[in-house]
């Protein structure tokens, strides 16, 4: 190699180019990620310490945006809504997903067909889901009106118009959309469980319930981890569904951090505060995703 380099310098350029080719092919991606992911993160981080309003500006104000952010009632609402929504969303999706996976794992007929039905909402846009459930839950024409029409005239179901209850309608629609996905994750986990161990426990006389509680569910821990990470990160990013279903209302009753960030940045012209709220969202997601990616990539080695 070194001999040919000195003997034929032109060939060496070609050789070196050839050796570098994989890196050259990868370099646009590296540049794109460096600029559009990490560069932009740094830019928004910087903006969160500036007096930006309608447009980015670079007057340094220190922690002031963060201090203001935590004094804004709407942010308070958004954060507590996220806690309520996120917890219920994750718990109900996991419970329902696990139940459906166990039901489907009983050697039933038409499993593929039923699985397809359970999972199809995942292929829809949150906007479509939002529109469908918006009118479905609307007291004027939806479930309430239908049940009243059937003769139960005192029936009430007006959560979507009710400040106290509206956040739960977001949970209802989001669970409908994603629980089939969680089912698929658990079903894949169930299929990976060692059947010999199941048989041994069955011979020992363990009841079906004990079998699941003692042997199956503990082995689903990795599936639980993945489901938690995916659902938590979807909950934090939830934006489309809220916009389509309630528009953040009534009032600010269903405001979430994602909708707060958008309205403060682009309609209220408080870009500094909007950037600060985005940074907090990123930190929350990073706290969940980074340890997960770390462990996954280390296992791979």
């Amino acid at each position: 190699m070194s001999i040919s380099e000195t003997a034929n310098p032109q060939g060496s350029v070609v050789d070196r180019l050839r050796d570098a080719l994989p890196k050259i092919v990868l370099s646009p991606t590296v540049a794109i990620v460096a600029i559009f992911v990490y560069g932009f993160i740094l830019f928004t981080l910087y903006l969160s310490f500036t007096d930006s309003r309608i447009l980015p500006s670079f007057g340094w104000v220190g922690w002031q945006n963060y201090e203001n952010l935590f004094r804004i009632r709407a942010w308070d609402t958004a954060v507590s809504n996220l806690v309520i929504f996120g917890l219920l969303y994750i718990i109900i999706c996991c419970a329902l997903g696990l139940l459906l996976a166990i039901l489907l794992d009983q050697r039933i007929r038409a499993e593929g067909f039923i699985r397809t039905i359970y999972l199809y909402p995942m292929a829809l846009s949150f906007i479509v889901t939002g529109v469908a459930w918006k009118w479905f839950l609307d007291p004027g024409i939806g479930i309430e009106a239908v049940v009243q029409g059937w003769g139960w005239t005192s029936f009430e179901f007006d959560w979507i118009k009710n400040r106290e209850m509206a956040i739960y309608t977001i949970v209802i629609a989001a669970v409908w959309q994603t629980s089939g996905f969680v089912m698929a994750m658990f079903l894949a986990g169930l299929r990976g469980i060692d059947s010999e161990m199941m048989k041994a426990a069955q011979i020992d006389g363990a009841s079906t319930f004990a079998l699941y509680r003692r042997i199956v569910i503990p082995q689903l821990r990795p599936a639980f981890m993945s489901a938690f990470v995916v659902l938590a990160h979807m909950a934090i990013k939830s934006y489309d569904l809220v916009i389509a279903l309630t528009g953040g209302g009534p009032g600010t009753a269903t405001e979430l951090p994602a909708t707060f960030m958008y309205s403060y940045t682009f309609t209220r012209n408080q870009m500094g505060i909007g950037a600060a709220s985005a940074v907090i969202m990123l930190m929350t997601i990073a706290a969940i995703i980074v340890p997960y990616l770390w462990s996954e990539l280390r296992e791979k080695k």
Partner: protein, 290 residues
């Protein structure tokens, strides 16, 4: 005695099992049923409280209206131009991110270098960031590039943030591809691109389908980027549908809204019905790796 007891208990269990399974089928299908039947009946039947009933008078007028004459935002164009916007946006964005993802996966697995795993980790983290974090600088960047408020701008954005997932798919797929074949071809004098073209690409069909379906579904269904970076004439379908439904002027035409919602759902739903297996594989690979 014990066996008959177990058997009868079993068949009761089976009945309960199938009842539950059917109940959940209804639960998942009900909103689709509601959308479909109400898109085919006159508005008066809906407002009279007949949302769950089949149409008394069947009509496709709501579909025609949603497609070509309904008020979307300020103009009465129907959803047709926005449907076309979405198609023009989705095809190049999917193609670009898939091609780049395939090349990245090839390099990361067959031409590894120091720091490849860290680089991949950084790339992967980019898939999960809340996009609120990039909205402000991206709006500025698109302005600088002269792409603000345009369909090419949206193509660019979706391409950029689609690379992470497509790289993930191809990397995990190629990692299982025998490296000896690549080395053997190298010894025979095949170059970087020839190996990719002749050896890896011919067996990449399944993962390419997975990747294309995932990107198509994600980009078609996106709302945040569409709402942030488009103008009236470059809005994608999801944004237009939301405008149609939220427009506060006049009577709320629920039947037209439902027809529009089905139109927005139809492309991804069709893909799901035709190639659901690959869609599920993509979902799983995006969450549970390996």
């Amino acid at each position: 005695m014990a066996t008959t007891h177990a058997k009868s208990g079993n068949s009761i269990g089976r009945i309960v099992l199938y009842t539950l399974l059917v109940f959940f089928c209804i639960y998942y299908l009900l909103p689709l049923y509601v959308m479909l039947v109400n898109s085919l009946k006159p508005l008066s039947e809906i407002t009279a409280g007949g949302m769950m009933a089949l149409p008394q008078e069947w009509t496709i007028a709501p579909w025609l209206s949603a497609w070509s004459s309904a008020q979307v935002g300020v103009e009465a164009t129907g959803l047709r131009p926005y449907f076309l916007n979405s198609i023009i946006m989705v095809v190049p964005a999917v193609a670009l991110s898939t091609i780049v993802g395939a090349l990245n996966g090839y390099v990361l697995t067959k031409w590894p270098f120091r720091g490849a795993t860290i680089l991949f980790g950084l790339l992967l983290f980019g898939c999960f960031i809340p996009f609120q974090m990039v909205l402000i600088p991206m709006a500025r960047m698109l302005g600088l590039m002269g792409l603000a408020g345009s369909v090419p701008g949206l193509i660019f954005v979706h391409f950029v943030y689609g690379i992470g997932f497509s790289t993930l798919y191809f990397r995990n797929y190629y990692a299982a591809f025998p490296t000896e074949l690549v080395r053997a071809a190298q010894i025979d004098g095949a170059g970087f691109f020839r190996i990719f073209w002749r050896i890896l690409l011919p067996s990449s069909g399944p993962i390419a389908v997975v990747c294309i379906i995932w990107q198509f579904t994600n980009i078609w269904n996106d709302f945040l980027f569409g709402a942030s970076f488009s103008d009236f004439d470059s809005q994608p379908m999801t944004v237009a549908l939301n405008n149609l439904v939220q427009s506060s002027t006049g009577v709320k035409e629920y039947n037209v809204h439902f027809a529009g919602a089905i139109m927005a759902a139809l492309p991804t739903l069709l893909v799901y019905i035709v190639a659901g297996r690959y869609f599920v594989r993509g979902l799983m690979a995006g969450s549970v790796k390996g």
